[in-house]
């Protein structure tokens, strides 16, 4: 039986484009410099020296002017598209529009929907919807346990045959070590990555933010970092014992990075992701009790933030994932302790990280691009590359453009972005996903032809 196409959706029509005199940067091929790129029939059809290709009839010219950057399109292995059941927060169209606006050419959607994505028929119907509605290709990661209840495995093999790339109970931990061990054993049959939200709820219960000086001052229940790190350590051990493949979601603290590094040093098949907000914000940003700063895991200390950056730089942490978690305005416009966890992130991820880490010289741009595209490979998908004959998955960036996040609204249906109102540098001008134009900056800055 041939496996179904892993991701579905994307622009309806193949673009005919000439990107002329763009500064290409592809950390996987080593490409770094001015170039002309032709996109046709869904592929990068031609690469040539800058200024040598001429636009043909019916071809749109995107002028790079020797300064706009062309990078492989980003991949986010962790987003919440809220479909089915919570379409007032986001749906397949708005969520992938937000992704495209952030330069993403592929995302993986989490299963904590209503109903939970835990059966093959639901997966099939979602994939059919995505094929019709999604702006960029979407994959779905079904649940490890039925109803995310932690008690009974989903029919993982049937789900895999229907196109599941992995499994996750994201939003909740797999609390029982015995249950996770069974999933790891079953993984030998069905393949796929087990993506884990790590949280010992006996330690986190009652908490709404990081446990520390700020929570003590505000009188808000704290979530200690050990709620995450003890579970990472446990599951590194389980994965090692079973020889299984696990991926740790949204890592937030130094101890978790250490636990992941220990697993990698022993050769275990473990990987990890980190979000832009954990790389850029800390508990101090929660002091004003802005509910957009409330997410799980909570923003921790400056020391944790630094070790996450170091983990990303060293490769202990493999990729950036936004954990894009839209919530409706009225759901977030409540006192902090009542508000649901989550921030949106797709539309700001690159600009926030570029502004916060690349501009000050903390990370190289090429390393950031590598980590923002590496998620695909972790789930067995090809990474976007800038090479002739490859599928056209590209983002055209203006690194000099400054903008205020949210000043012109959002493509997402929700506006609960932790970076809203911040002045950011670097903007996605055009996103080409699966060979078609998935996003064009709404300001008329760009194009002739």
């Amino acid at each position: 039986m041939s496996r179904p196409s892993p991701l579905l959706g994307g622009p309806e029509t193949a673009a005919r484009l000439l990107l002329s005199d763009v500064v290409a940067l592809d950390p996987r091929t080593g490409l770094d410099g001015p170039i002309d790129v032709r996109v046709r029939d869904g592929l990068i059809s031609e690469l040539a020296a800058a200024g040598t290709l001429l636009a043909e009839d019916g071809e749109e010219l995107l002028a790079g002017e020797g300064r706009r950057r062309l990078v492989p399109g980003f991949f986010d292995p962790h987003v919440h598209l809220r479909t089915p059941g919570q379409e007032h927060k986001e749906d397949l169209e708005t969520g992938t529009r937000a992704a495209a606006a952030g330069g993403y050419v592929g995302v993986l959607a989490m299963p904590n929907t209503d109903p939970v994505l835990d059966s093959a028929p639901l997966l099939r119907s979602l994939r059919e919807s995505a094929a019709r509605q999604a702006r960029i290709p979407v994959g779905f990661i079904p649940a490890i346990t039925r109803g995310l209840a932690g008690e009974q495995l989903t029919e993982m093999a049937e789900l895999a045959a229907e196109g599941a790339l992995g499994f996750t109970d994201d939003g909740r931990p797999v609390a029982s070590a015995g249950m996770l061990r069974k999933a790891l054993q079953y993984q030998r049959l069905c393949g796929g990555v087990l993506a884990l939200h790590e949280e010992d709820q006996t330690l986190s219960r009652g908490g709404a933010m990081h446990e520390g000086a700020v929570s003590a001052a505000l009188g808000i229940g704290g979530i200690p970092t050990i709620a995450e790190s003890t579970m990472v350590a446990r599951d590194v051990a389980l994965a090692g014992y079973e020889g299984g493949r696990v991926h740790f979601q949204h890592l937030s603290c130094a101890e978790s990075v250490e636990a992941l590094a220990a697993g990698k040093s022993r050769g275990f098949r473990v990987s990890g992701e980190v979000s832009p907000h954990h790389l850029l914000l800390t508990e101090e940003d929660v002091r004003g009790l802005d509910t957009r700063m409330k997410m799980h895991p909570p923003l921790a200390t400056e020391a944790d933030r630094r070790s996450l950056i170091e983990g990303l730089r060293s490769g202990t942490i493999d990729c950036v994932a936004t954990d894009h978690a839209p919530h409706a305005r009225d759901e977030k416009e409540v006192p902090f302790e009542q508000a649901p966890m989550g921030t949106t992130g797709l539309e700001t991820a690159f600009a926030a990280l570029y502004t916060g880490l690349v501009v000050p010289g903390i990370l190289e741009l090429s390393l950031l691009i590598e980590r923002m595209t590496a998620g695909a490979g972790l789930f067995g998908l090809p990474s976007a590359t800038i090479a002739a004959g490859e599928p056209a998955n590209l983002a055209l960036l203006d690194l000099d453009a400054e903008w205020v996040a949210g000043e012109h609204g959002w493509e997402s249906r929700s506006e609960n972005c932790c970076f809203a109102g911040r002045r950011l540098k670097g903007r996605v001008l055009v996103t080409i996903a699966a060979g078609g134009v998935a996003h064009r900056d709404r300001s008329p800055a760009l194009v002739e032809g």
């Binding site: 009652g206 446990e211 520390g212 000086a213 700020v214 929570s215 003590a216 001052a217 505000l218 009188g219 808000i220 229940g221 704290g222 200690p224 009790l289 009225d330 416009e333 409540v334 006192p335 902090f336 302790e337 009542q338």
Partner: protein, 319 residues
């Protein structure tokens, strides 16, 4: 001052201004007619999302003594039980144009949120486990009357600090007034990081003798939905303030209501060292001072200029 949201945002001068104002109002309570027309024509809305008898009635009495109109709105039995959000409730009640809203909720930061949603002056009467600023102000008032000066005093706050908004507000207020504050209690009930507010932390009462003031917190049984201490009996044996632990000349305070036999033994409650009833009395005059500070002078209602000679007080302009 436009709102009273927390002690954290007040400086010593602001605390002293309210306390001094309260001292002037104390005289009113001793009159035969306990009322001044300072806030005639103003409306104070008490919006309470948590059960409260003494704080609510104390605010109500304070507003009435200043001749303001008072409306009480309790969340139970109201539209809140039908699922109305805090914001919608506040917007709806704002249609009645209250001059001040006294707000108690189980959520930290709720008062500050509400202050952004309406034009009334907001008085935080307790927001979750965060702050209870009028309690701290009345405790400063009480203590100043008892000790004369708070500067340099050693004050121990004893008990369930983790779940206490009183602990947080008082810790800040006492420090701003120059006291040295120590918090003490079982390690499960002292929040990690509290020392960054500038206080000392102790897990036993071995050094309690050095305190000038012992402030016992209520062991809040209603919040004890998890086993923070093995038993109230064990808690009492380690942390109860009793005749053996309380030394002569130490002042004993408690925000009420007291669990006799738990955080305080019966004999210390009734001893002359306890200022617990003085704290309750102070509640009214301090809340009068807070409402007066927020509502007088800034936007005088046309019909109700303060009557000549009634209160020789100067309104404080908005900061």
């Amino acid at each position: 001052m436009n709102h009273l949201l927390s002690i954290a945002e007040l400086d010593r001068a602001a605390i002293e201004r309210v306390v001094t104002q309260a001292e002037r109002f104390a005289e009113v309570s001793d009159r035969e007619i306990k009322k001044v027309p300072a806030l005639r024509g103003r409306m104070v809305l008490n919006l309470f999302y948590e059960a409260s008898t003494r704080t609510r009635s104390s605010f109500e009495l304070a507003a009435k003594r200043l001749s303001a109109d008072v409306v009480n709105f309790a969340a139970s039995g109201s539209s809140v039980e039908k699922g109305e959000s805090l914001k919608d409730t506040v917007l709806t009640l704002s249609a009645h144009k209250p001059d001040a809203i006294v707000l108690r909720t189980p959520w930290a930061g709720a008062s500050e949120l509400v202050s952004r949603w309406c034009s009334a002056a907001i008085v935080n009467a307790g927001d979750g486990k965060h702050e209870h600023p009028t309690q701290a102000l009345l405790d400063v008032y009480t203590l100043r009357r008892r000790l004369g000066e708070i500067d340099g005093a050693s004050i121990w706050i004893v008990g369930d600090v983790a779940h206490s908004r009183v602990a947080r507000s008082n810790l800040l207020a006492f420090q701003k007034m120059g006291a040295k504050v120590t918090v003490a209690g079982p390690p499960t009930l002292i929040p990690r990081g509290i020392e960054e507010l500038g206080c000392e932390v102790r897990f036993t009462l071995d050094e309690l003798d050095g305190a000038d003031v012992v402030y016992a917190l209520r062991m809040q049984r209603e919040r004890m939905n998890e086993t923070w201490v093995p038993s109230l009996r064990e808690y009492a044996s380690w942390y109860q303030i009793n005749g053996r632990r309380l030394k002569p000349r130490q002042v004993l305070m408690h925000p009420g209501p007291v669990n006799r036999g738990v955080e305080l033994s019966g004999e210390v409650v009734d001893s002359p060292q306890a200022v617990i009833t003085a704290q309750v009395e102070a509640g009214v005059v301090v809340r009068m001072a807070v409402l007066y500070e927020l509502l007088s002078g800034v936007h005088p209602p046309p019909a109700a200029a303060p009557a000549h000679g009634e209160v020789a007080l100067r309104g404080v302009a908005a900061r």
